[in-house]
Symmetry: C4
Subunit: 367 residues, 4 copies
């Protein structure tokens, strides 16, 4: 039974979350076909996107018994911040597509669930608006590197002022993947980009469709130092899929590695994200923390990612679907379902703490 | 043509058993949707449950010929007990969900078929009631460890008095797996837990739904000695999925190892049970006997489990379906179909005895 | 355009054979449901039967070019007999189920196609009847070992008199596989067993259903010498699936090895026949010739079997379907389609002769 | 919105190309069932044809980031010719089946797209006609070796006069694969073979159905020198599937190796073309350039082929479908879609040039 509230930009209700994978079909009519296509799609044939989830089946956990585990504790620390669960709302553009509250609802839900939130450059709300509702809750800012350095400075200033814990520089999207559903639906990302409007470019109404054009294509390793020096914030590189790039980024000053293939929306034909994690974790060798996202639908997926080397696990589309269905309460409900599944999986694998999960050995063909 | 009898708590009839896998669809309308959901389901996505059966296809038997085999003999001994076949009715809770005779029918059918029976703590009938019909037939008692030591003592006393051959301590269920069909069906295990009612807690009508709450979560290796010392019965640990836990349990006093993933109802993402057997058998190295269950649907599955290291092979849901369809006769019919298939498979693989089966080499990727 | 003839026990017509796999659906209504079930089915879940054919996909041929091949020659010699193609009509029981001419039609079609024919003990026609139509064409007799040695002597006498080139002793069927379609269809093999009626047992009308009961279960290696000594014919052992049994049979006097899993009708859970061939061929090491059958549907399958070690390749059900559809002409049409496909595959792999095919290297995971 | 033109033998319109795989269904009604069957089909069961495309999934590209890539450049050189993209319209017979302009439209579209074109011996247009529209655009001539040396001389003369860059000798088709769709459709390749009519054989109207009969079956390595000596053009051998044949051809004078299984139309049961490429590239060791075709449907497939050793990548059926739908504009549209996908894939894998792509390491089980 859903209780309606309307206090935060649109309907806010508790939703029943049977599991994360069931949310897409429920959210689709709420979101609308073009917008849903944009959120849900992968690139080309969607092969990498599908593999992201199915590849978890190739990681088998071995349940341990009689180890005195009771009431597992999934609290963890990430970059000095205490979290109730090793979860992150992965940065997604334009969340007002899903719900009028957009990133504000996402931030509020994440805060209530005690998990980390990341806001996209292409968010529908300004950093300041989102930071206001976060009110001290852990928060990171994702940066699509603009061509315009002054605009970049504006964004970094806003992020620092909003007390962001880190800047996540997305390195895998110097151009958009080929996404056929948008072509079929004649869909162009609509709506204002709040962070762009906050910065007075004089260009009124630069739509989201032109956004990648505004972004810098020729990214290189020197950028890490430049961003760190200006922002005085840790720089995390998102879109790392090889040990070579992880090592290079760390040596160039990266404070964290974010393993991701952008939810299968960029290069189709890349391996499943979880498949790339073990080699990267080995190369990183705990020098910096690792964030992981890619196809996570279950508490067991979270455990598998942690066991293979992640410190924080991002979930993207399901939080947007939760937002669409219940506003910030829906976001919290999604997080709570995951936390519930994580709790069961920790107890059944014999893990008392997240550190235990990270020491667990899994059977897998990924190296 | 079914002949109706009604002598043992409900209809007792001979049923035709084409094969074990065909029973679920026939039993579903007899059992009812919520109850059938509870019996048939696995946890999360049901991946481990499905793998339990399909993984048998990755074990290939190599038929041997011209070895003078005739009328194979599937009799075997388990823990000093003679059995007509190396089969066990794996412990399942609340069998009155399937048939009014519950565990009494199960015990009677097992006895008539000459196989081993195991009764769950959460049985619908008391140990004494079941023992009465077993009347000397081989019988084991499965223990969900209660928080209340006095209640545990009561159960162990009852089991010893009923002449149980061993106590099977379930170690893999310190909390319930996430089973979505129960959520979808709004199903809560109903009906009395006979063994709980026999023990006067003063709490009238403690339903089965709250049972795991009554069970101890923090199990450890020291418990094995404690149970053995009090009961003076062999303690078998159920839910072993790793060589490490098998070794630890034996060193802590376990008299048997029960390899199982609880029919895929606990941790989804665990390997198929048959996949875990060879490494465990190697670690056990015949120090104690091994029981196996997980997805067995065919006589050939029984042979494969024996060849990979099992001494006794448990079958769960199919016996409950047989019970639902024919009472104790249905249980016997299911056992007889399996025995018939085992006989054919022994003859065709060139095995005269169960010891021959256990020496057979199979082709498999499991190590 | 089919031309009807009726000269040989029933309609004899030319049939179009698009490919072998298309014949089953066409033959089913001609044969009738129970009989078709009996011919087409495998045992248990039909897993081994399906693998027999699909496993050919795991053998890849590497086409060679510019090797001066022209008009490939698929003639070959088997046990001193010249054949137009390395093909055998694998022994199948009761071919009057398919067509009134039964084994007579099969023998006539095989003769016209210039390939080897094998007749089952449980044939619908006597050895003498079939031999009459073969009239010097190559012919082997398949023996289900009877319990009654006198009856066995009768059969061997008949076979020798009919000028059989060899006796094929079936070793894999000391009891029948579990075939569910017969249970579902309430089907029992009907019709007379001609070879049984020729031998005056005094038991009138012993039906085929009881045949395995008449057969000896306890076969051993000594039987090879006994049969060879009495018949003075080469003894080929059918149903070999391991190198160990191949070696043992040769050392016990076998003149040929017949690799087969009985078309997947006996032990379900055995490997695909083609999967077992390389190891057996290595063990046999050309000491005796090798016959292979199991799932052959294509000329490329024949080449793959030859490349992995076979000298003669049996095809079973498709010949019975051809017989059902066109009498002996249908049998010849099936053989000719295979010969056509073999011709194409030889040319395209750069093989001028069958010896070239046998030297071809394939990519395969089978060892 | 399509704009109709009619200037070049039939309708010429711009077509929307969502992706290459979507073209077949659109082109089918335009081409007609028999002709479409002939163009689209593979041999036997179509297994090799299907594997050609699906095997690309077994090659995983590892996206690299922060490498300063911007506006990737897909221009390349092949045998001294500059191309805008490493693409080739693979030789296909009888393109008037698809569109009245036939090879003239194909050549015009290839020229406009800046890619290489290859014309089949069995083209619907003469070499001279096609060369006229190519007007200096890169062009190669594919040769089915005729039995009649004088006719071969005529073809080579025409090709040299048309300024062909090379002769592609097809070595894998000394006889046609077994293509069932033609049998089912009672389809025989119709229409004139222009190159045959240009040569006055005195045999009027030799249809395409008899073409392979006119072709030489007994090809050998000596032919390479003979063709090179007469034509004074580089000879590329098409249909190479093994390192052995690649080495032999180079040693016999081949100026290029064309890895192909004829689109899965010849030997069914051969490996996917991409699967054979790495071993051949290793054997070739850059002594001569390598052309590859087989199942290419995506820009990522082109990158994978280049990374595994190809210098030029052929695409066959999709260009004929583009031709059917839009004449030469359709051919150009198909090429442009591929170029667009290649551009995205280069940027996302961090490759600035085709040379970078060829140095990229992929994860694959192919050796």
């Amino acid at each position: 039974m859903l209780k309606e509230k309307t206090d935060l930009f649109g309907p806010v209700v508790d939703i029943d979350v049977l599991n994360l994978k069931s949310l897409a079909a429920r959210a689709k009519p709420v979101i609308g076909p073009g917008e849903f296509g944009y959120i849900s799609e992968g690139s080309d044939d969607g092969y990498t996107m599908r593999c992201n989830t199915t590849a978890f089946d190739d990681v088998k956990m071995l349940p341990r018994v009689l180890r005195g585990v009771e009431q597992p504790n999934q609290q963890t620390e990430f970059m000095g911040v205490q979290l109730d669960s090793p979860l992150l709302t992965a940065p997604i553009a334009g969340n007002t597509l899903a719900h009028p509250s957009g990133e504000i609802g996402l931030a509020k839900g994440a805060k209530e669930a005690g998990i980390m939130m990341a806001q996209s450059t292409f968010a529908s709300k300004t950093i300041a608006e989102t930071a206001a509702v976060s009110a001290g809750a852990p928060y990171m800012f994702q940066l699509y590197m603009p061509k315009d350095w002054a605009y970049c400075q504006y964004l970094l200033d806003e992020a620092r002022e909003a007390n962001a814990k880190a800047i996540i520089l997305t390195a895998d999207s110097t151009l958009g993947g080929y996404r056929e559903l948008d072509v079929i639906n004649h869909y162009h990302l609509r709506g204002k980009i709040a962070n762009l409007e906050g910065y007075n470019t004089g260009q009124c109404g630069v739509g989201a469709g032109g956004l990648f054009k505004e972004s810098m294509q020729k990214l290189d390793l020197a950028l890490i130092d430049k961003l760190a020096a200006y922002s005085e914030l840790p720089i995390i590189i998102k879109g790392i899929q090889t040990p070579q790039d992880a090592t290079a980024a760390i040596e160039a000053g990266a404070a964290g590695i974010y393993v991701s293939n952008h939810g299968g929306r960029q290069l189709d034909g890349a391996p499943a994200a979880i498949e790339t994690l073990p080699a990267i974790a080995k190369a990183v060798d705990q020098r910096v923390p690792i964030i992981f996202d890619g196809g996570v639908q279950r508490g067991t997926h979270v455990l598998k990612a942690l066991a293979l080397g992640a410190d924080l696990v991002g979930v993207g589309r399901p939080f947007s679907y939760g937002l669409a269905l219940g506003g910030w309460q829906g976001v919290r409900n999604v997080a709570n379902q995951l936390k519930n599944e994580i709790n069961i999986a920790m107890q059944l694998t014999g893990c008392q703490t997240i550190a235990d999960v990270q020491k667990m050995t899994c059977q897998t063909r990924f190296k």
